[in-house]
């Protein structure tokens, strides 16, 4: 149902129907048909979660940008991106939803949450009833949240982003799933080519950053193992979004409640609670950790748990004595220790045939200032807002964007022009960014934003080094910023480029199309602060 979260009317309608059902349940007592109604809630949750999860994943896989036109908003309703983008409407709506229904965000909208549910489901196949109650690790939760906020505040958002749920999932999808998707697409393209069809085209698959791949693998292993063994441990100990929403969900209007008159204390609910938040001894639920998955309602064979309006004065909070680290926390810590990059086979380049000169791969020059896309405004603005979700990197059709390997800006997008350049017609990264780190720009705005400027490396320039007339940079400069001039003291030698930095926008056409290899004779230095011509 949270597919409709951005459509006010539908949400209100939904709540209305829910409340009506719940009220009637509480008024007339639990009867078999209404028990089914509660069970329906779990099915609705699962269906909504599957749809949301599939569509968010599609955003990271679809390199054509078609999915973004329809479902791009699914990335923009993620809580942390909305906060960073100062999207008050979304933040308020999510807060309201949590106050009304509890942490449905965590079980439906958050892709990392759904991913954990999938891992947990697989875990339950191996061993049923595998969970149990554990008290809230309040200091760990709040400590993580505090650390997260501090890191964001001091501008180390790349470290904070390591635990940000949506971007953590984004990294997994874009570095681990997207290549598989692309290979599948390439197989189809291969067949299409032979069938003379243009339905599919081949795309390059390459490792954009080993560090980010390592982070993604580590996140997948840690979160996956935790979820396999203990369900939602990550969400209730580490995830800052979970902690913030937990604060609100304590007071949610609707909540699962154990009817003590029906409960026989069998503990089946607790052994099936992924959040480990049902204390079957005291017959209470910790609502700050409950992600309203409705599994307990479904499991209870006495029909003792129902999703009803909160009653005043009913103190149902969970036990709060902090206990020494138990298995789940140990697991978590060992998981973090696994943060190691894994090696894989490097993509092989196509073998050239005899009639063609072998082409040396371009190498990235060392740039004093990194280049970031138009719309990022400045390095500072990008660093402060980006959570490193890789959405921009996944959609960049020209192989320009890749995650940074630098520790302070780890996983945030950087531009480099070895595979292509920032083409004038493309504004995709700015369209998809959910956090406002790359603000939406039009083609006109983009082509008048100076994200960097070109610098000539005379010793590599063919007219100077090999006396060949060239000018490919000048010919392809979309800003007309390059003029070919005579070499000083060598009037009859071929002309060399001269860059008008007032006009140069730093798109990298010159660098990318320069015939000098592996290092181009002209390359782009970034601007810390973007300027408008």
């Amino acid at each position: 149902m949270f597919l409709y979260v951005d459509r006010g009317i539908s949400v209100i309608e939904m709540i209305y129907y829910l409340c009506r059902g719940v009220c009637s349940a509480s008024t007339y007592g639990v009867s078999p048909p209404e028990e089914n109604q509660y069970r329906m809630l779990r099915k609705i949750r699962i269906a909504a979660a599957v749809v949301c999860f599939a569509l968010v994943t599609l955003l990271f896989l679809d390199f054509t940008g078609t999915a973004h036109a329809w479902f791009g908003w699914l990335a923009k309703i993620q809580l942390l991106p909305a906060v960073l983008a100062v999207n008050a409407a979304v933040v308020a709506a999510l807060a309201l939803v949590t106050l009304l229904l509890g942490r449905v965000y965590c079980s439906v909208i958050c892709p990392l949450g759904v991913m954990q549910d999938i891992a947990a489901r697989l875990g339950r196949r191996v061993r049923k009833n595998r969970y149990g109650y554990s008290p809230e690790r309040r200091w760990l939760r709040w400590g993580m949240l505090a650390l997260f906020v501090i890191l964001l505040a001091v501008g180390l958002s790349s470290l904070a982003a390591l635990v940000a749920p949506y971007s953590a999932y984004g990294r997994i999808a874009s570095t681990l799933l997207a290549p598989v998707w692309a290979w599948g697409n390439n197989a189809l393209a291969y067949m299409a080519e032979r069938a003379d069809s243009y339905a599919f085209y081949t795309v390059d698959v390459w490792v954009k950053s080993w560090a980010t791949l390592g982070v993604a693998v580590a996140t997948l292993v840690v979160v996956g193992v935790l979820a396999w063994r203990n369900g939602r441990t990550w969400c209730n100990t580490v995830c800052p979004v979970g902690t913030v929403l937990g604060l609100l969900s304590r007071f949610s209007l609707l909540r699962p409640v154990i009817d003590t008159s029906k409960c026989n204390g069998c503990g089946l609910c607790a052994r099936n609670c992924k959040s480990a938040c049902i204390d079957s001894k005291t017959r209470t639920i910790d609502y700050s950790r409950c992600v309203v998955c409705m599994d307990c309602i479904d499991k209870c064979n006495k029909g003792a748990i129902s999703y009803v309006l909160r009653r005043k004065g009913a103190a149902q909070s969970a036990g709060r004595s902090p206990e020494p680290a138990d298995a789940s926390r140990r697991n978590f810590l060992t998981g973090v220790g696994l943060l190691v990059a894994t090696g894989a086979v490097k993509a092989q380049e196509k073998v050239v045939d005899g009639g063609l000169v072998a082409i040396t791969d371009k190498k990235a020059p060392s740039r004093v200032t990194p280049i970031v896309p138009a719309g990022a405004r400045s390095l500072r603005h990008l660093t402060q807002h980006c959570t490193g979700c890789q959405l921009c990197v996944s959609v960049c059709p020209n192989g320009v964007l890749r995650p940074s390997d630098d520790l302070t800006t780890l996983m945030q997008p950087r531009m480099s022009y070895e595979r292509g350049y920032c083409r004038p017609e493309c504004t995709k990264c700015s369209e998809v960014c959910p956090t406002g780190a790359i603000r939406a720009v039009t083609r006109g705005e983009k082509s008048s934003t100076q994200i960097g400027h070109a610098v000539l490396v005379m010793k590599n320039c063919l007219p100077a080094s090999e006396d060949v007339s060239c000018g490919n940079c000048a010919r392809h400069c979309p800003a007309g910023a390059i003029t070919m001039i005579a070499q000083s003291g060598r009037r009859d030698a071929p002309k060399i480029p001269s860059v008008n930095v007032e006009r140069c926008i730093g798109c990298g056409a010159c660098e990318s199309l320069c015939p000098a290899r592996p290092f181009s004779a002209i390359y782009v230095e970034g601007h810390e602060q973007h300027r408008t011509i």
Binding site: Y198, T202, G355, L356, V357, A358, S469, C470, N472, H476
Partner: protein
């Protein structure tokens, strides 16, 4: 005689002088001693004997189909497949072909030798051979180097007389007149060749013309001095009225041919297919040609056009494959000259063809390898394919523009890896001098690059 009437009318339309017509007559010829061989290897069967023309100076019969030896078949190593060459030459001679045209430059310099080997297996009176003084490279402009090249031709061809000797491709180069003088005047080579003709070691002396019309005009103005026995020009149904459109420095074939006719100089025709462009035409045009004569190949129309003017001594065709040879033999055994109506039809086709802007690349790969890694023929052939299949958007307003755009761009990436596409051409011009079709490759690379940018950026055009 119905044929004669048609020809006369045809010539009238060509605007050629009537005096010249008498000089060159039209006759059938039978290979001496060979009998009328039939084509036994299947394929098109010639209806009769090869049409021949008579050289007005020597009176010798020359087959209307001349064998261009610039494209001999090669093996997998790229070396000439001599066995195949022998087979082709045997078959050609058996079916009446007696004119073989080679050059020291052809086939990476190996054509003369291969041609010589194949021809030496036949009696000397059954064939005539043409070769050229191909001193293009400045290093061969000296008298010594040019002389060495000339002498070497005799050795390679295993002959003591060169029947047709040409100054090769006069009019080429950025300063064509200067280059012509450096190659043939300053070093005294033209005077030397004249004396060789005097001495009988050269049967006929002429020149092949490409490029700058000023050089052509000058050499014809000096006809009284040099007494050209023939001139080799580019003539086909597109160049006839549109030669200058295709190459602004040159002129229409109608003009070139007319100038030769005025002076009674026989014309030898090269590029009857405009670099293959007239055999690989747009589907629409191919359909029209085929509908008119189901039994004729698309190429046969171009060959009939080139051979129909009576002042044409022979039409050269570089035949790599037996199928091409058979098809051409079928067209010319005997030649069925174009009717006036057919000739007009082809001129209409020429206009239609020009609306489909293919580039006359026939994938000979002489330009390769490009030092900057481009796949030049790959790029040009992709472009031509899209043109010929009617998949090239002619304007951004086309109703199927989006589809055509997608297909062009995806097909481009499929045909040519991105790093080898036109945008990587730096314009070093290394390829230009290697292109036998005289395609200005860097200019075409730029044109295609601009077109690709139009498509990619969604610019209106």
């Amino acid at each position: 005689m119905k044929d004669g009437l048609d020809r006369r009318e045809f010539l009238k339309r060509l605007g050629a002088g009537t005096a010249a017509v008498a000089a060159i007559s039209f006759a059938g010829c039978r290979p001496k001693g060979g009998g009328a061989a039939t084509i036994s290897e299947g394929g098109d069967m010639p209806a009769g004997e090869m049409t021949c023309r008579i050289n007005p100076k020597t009176g010798e019969r020359v087959s209307i189909l001349g064998y261009g030896c610039m494209r001999w078949p090669t093996d997998e190593n790229g070396d000439i497949d001599q066995e195949q060459v022998n087979r082709l030459v045997d078959f050609a001679i058996a079916h009446g072909v007696n004119y073989f045209d080679t050059s020291p430059a052809y086939c990476k310099g190996m054509s003369e030798r291969a041609t010589g080997i194949a021809l030496s297996r036949h009696p000397r009176d059954k064939w005539v051979v043409a070769t050229k003084l191909s001193n293009f490279a400045p290093s061969t402009w000296s008298r010594e180097a040019s002389m060495a090249m000339y002498r070497n031709s005799f050795k390679e061809l295993q002959v003591d007389r060169i029947d047709y000797m040409l100054l090769h491709a006069v009019g080429m180069g950025s300063d064509a007149m200067r280059e012509f003088e450096s190659r043939y005047i300053d070093n005294g080579m033209l005077d030397f060749l004249l004396s060789e003709r005097e001495a009988g070691r050269i049967g006929n002396l002429g020149f092949s013309y490409h490029g700058d019309i000023a050089v052509f005009d000058r050499l014809l103005a000096e006809h009284d001095k040099y007494k050209w026995d023939f001139v080799q020009i580019q003539l086909n149904y597109v160049d006839w009225r549109h030669g200058r459109e295709l190459d602004p420095r040159s002129n229409d074939a109608e003009y070139l041919y007319g100038e030769l006719q005025k002076r009674g100089i026989p014309a030898i025709i090269m590029e009857p297919l405009l670099g293959g462009r007239l055999s690989n035409v747009h589907d629409h045009i191919a359909a029209e040609l085929r509908e008119r004569r189901n039994d004729r190949s698309v190429a046969s129309w171009a060959f009939r056009f080139a051979a129909s003017p009576e002042g044409v001594l022979t039409v050269l065709s570089g035949m790599t494959y037996m199928e091409h040879l058979r098809d051409n033999l079928a067209t010319y055994s005997p030649l069925e000259p174009l009717s006036e109506e057919e000739s007009e039809f082809l001129k209409r086709m020429a206009q239609a063809l020009l609306r489909y802007p293919t580039i006359p690349c026939n994938d000979c790969k002489y330009c390769m390898p490009c030092p900057y890694g481009l796949d030049i023929p790959g790029i040009l052939l992709h472009y031509n394919r899209c043109v010929n299949e009617g998949r090239l958007p002619s304007s951004s307003g086309d109703e199927n523009y989006r589809r055509a755009r997608r297909e062009f761009l995806i097909g481009y990436d499929r045909s040519v890896p991105r790093l080898r596409q036109a945008d990587h051409c730096i314009g070093c011009k290394e390829c230009v001098r290697h292109c036998p079709q005289r395609i200005d490759i860097p200019a075409q690379m730029r044109r295609i690059d601009r077109f690709v940018e139009d498509l990619k950026q969604g610019r209106e055009f």
